[in-house]
């Protein structure tokens, strides 16, 4: 049975004992918080799971997610559990690249900051956001968008009846209310103001590409990465560079990413990060596999 490491993007909900789990494995977590503080000039050492200074701020929250993921993957690999494949959920890509040795920890921090800043500059003046729709299919949402001429897009398919949408905030809200009216079980606006995986970020490509080529020594990944965008398996520096830029503005499909892994023999997914959002999503994807969030990994050793 093959193993895949999967990496979350933002942590919407913590298990509560993530730090203790990492401490019990003598992980690099606190060391990474210090490194992130030194690189960014922003103090991450005061992080705690209930400190909204970190959990409610989009960039800090993304950074913390990256640090949790890198710390956990380090622990797992040190203990002898290596992935056959990896996949990053949206901005979880950076931690996958770190785990595969394609970038180092500091490069990951700088990429996250730069991607965030470039995205913000491209959408300057646009109040944008992302939302979640539960209970409608992709075609039902597409039809809503088309019929009502809504300038929002589907950003990600989590499963047949679970999608993320993105775009200018007013259009996302419009789409969410239309979705609820036709029978979506649940809609919610996410605590994310950057319209990831949206055409609004098309113009990030050149600047981010330039930053990557000037500031990052991309390496081949030690472990193959399944692209969340088009599910191709990538390893080389060139493919990774392309994936990094595409990941900001292209639609992803997490369900198909999962299916690709399953089709290649993966039966064990390790959620390399805090929370268990990817385990929850995985519940709706058919197949004979298990997703282990951080608090269940002890059972693997």
């Amino acid at each position: 049975m093959k193993t895949a490491f999967i990496f979350p993007a933002f942590i919407s909900e913590y298990l509560g004992n993530e730090i203790q789990i990492l401490e019990s494995f003598s992980s690099n977590f606190h060391h990474f918080l210090q490194k992130a503080s030194a690189i960014t000039g922003d103090d991450y050492t005061g992080f705690s799971l209930d400190n909204v200074h970190y959990t409610e701020d989009e960039l800090r929250s993304q950074m913390i997610s990256y640090i949790f993921s890198c710390s956990l993957s380090d622990v797992l690999i040190k203990k002898g559990l290596e992935p056959d494949f990896m996949a990053g959920y949206s901005m979880g890509l950076y931690a996958a690249l770190y785990t595969g040795g394609a970038i180092d920890f500091n490069e990951g921090i700088r990429l996250i900051i730069q991607a965030f800043l470039i995205s913000k500059s491209v959408i300057k003046g646009v109040n944008s956001g992302m939302g979640s729709i539960i209970g409608l299919t992709k075609s039902e949402i597409s039809e809503l968008i088309e019929k009502n001429n809504i300038k929002a897009e589907i950003a990600n398919t989590n499963s047949i009846h679970s999608h993320l949408v993105t775009g200018p905030k007013s259009t996302v809200n419009h789409l969410l209310s239309k979705a609820r009216a036709i029978g979506a079980l649940n809609i919610s606006l996410l605590n994310v103001s950057t319209p990831y995986h949206s055409k609004l970020l098309n113009n990030t490509q050149d600047e981010f590409q330039q930053f990557i080529s000037e500031n990052t020594q991309l390496q081949q990944s030690k472990y193959p990465i399944i692209s969340a965008i088009n599910q191709r398996v990538i390893i080389s520096e060139e493919e990774i560079g392309k994936e990094l830029t595409n990941n900001l503005y292209k639609r992803i499909n997490w369900m198909e990413t999962f299916n690709k892994a399953i089709s290649m023999g993966v039966g064990q997914f390790i959620e390399c990060g805090a929370g268990k959002s990817l385990q929850k999503i995985g519940r709706f994807i058919p197949g004979d596999f298990t997703v282990y969030p951080m608090n269940k990994i002890l059972g693997l050793f």
Binding site: G135, L136, H161, S162, G183, F284
Partner: protein, 101 residues
């Protein structure tokens, strides 16, 4: 659609409680009919979707999720008791749930 008898009521309750106990990593005894799914149990809408799928498979129903979604606009589910009642109504009425009141 199925006639809801005491056995089904008991099955549904047991499945719902076991599901939340496992998902929320708490003991079944900590869950009551009045437990708020979001504020008390840290639950979410994906759990509601998962339960609908569990019950439609178990009782061989073909449910249009949008019908349940529309019904839930008028009959929002906040507690475990309300969730169990909703599931029983879905089992009993299927897609005709929307025709209730």
């Amino acid at each position: 659609m199925a006639r809801v008898n005491d056995k089904i009521k008991e099955e549904v309750r047991e499945i719902v409680l076991d599901f939340f106990a496992e998902e929320c990593e708490i003991d079944v005894s900590e869950i009551t009919d009045d437990s708020n799914i979001i504020t008390d149990l840290d639950g979410d809408s994906l759990m509601f979707l998962a339960l609908i799928e569990i019950f439609t498979k178990k009782y061989g129903q073909e449910i249009d999720l949008k019908t349940i979604g529309k019904y839930s606009i008028k009959h929002p589910v906040e507690t475990i008791g309300e969730l169990i009642d909703m599931q029983l109504r879905i089992i009993e009425h299927g897609n005709k749930i929307i025709e209730l009141d």
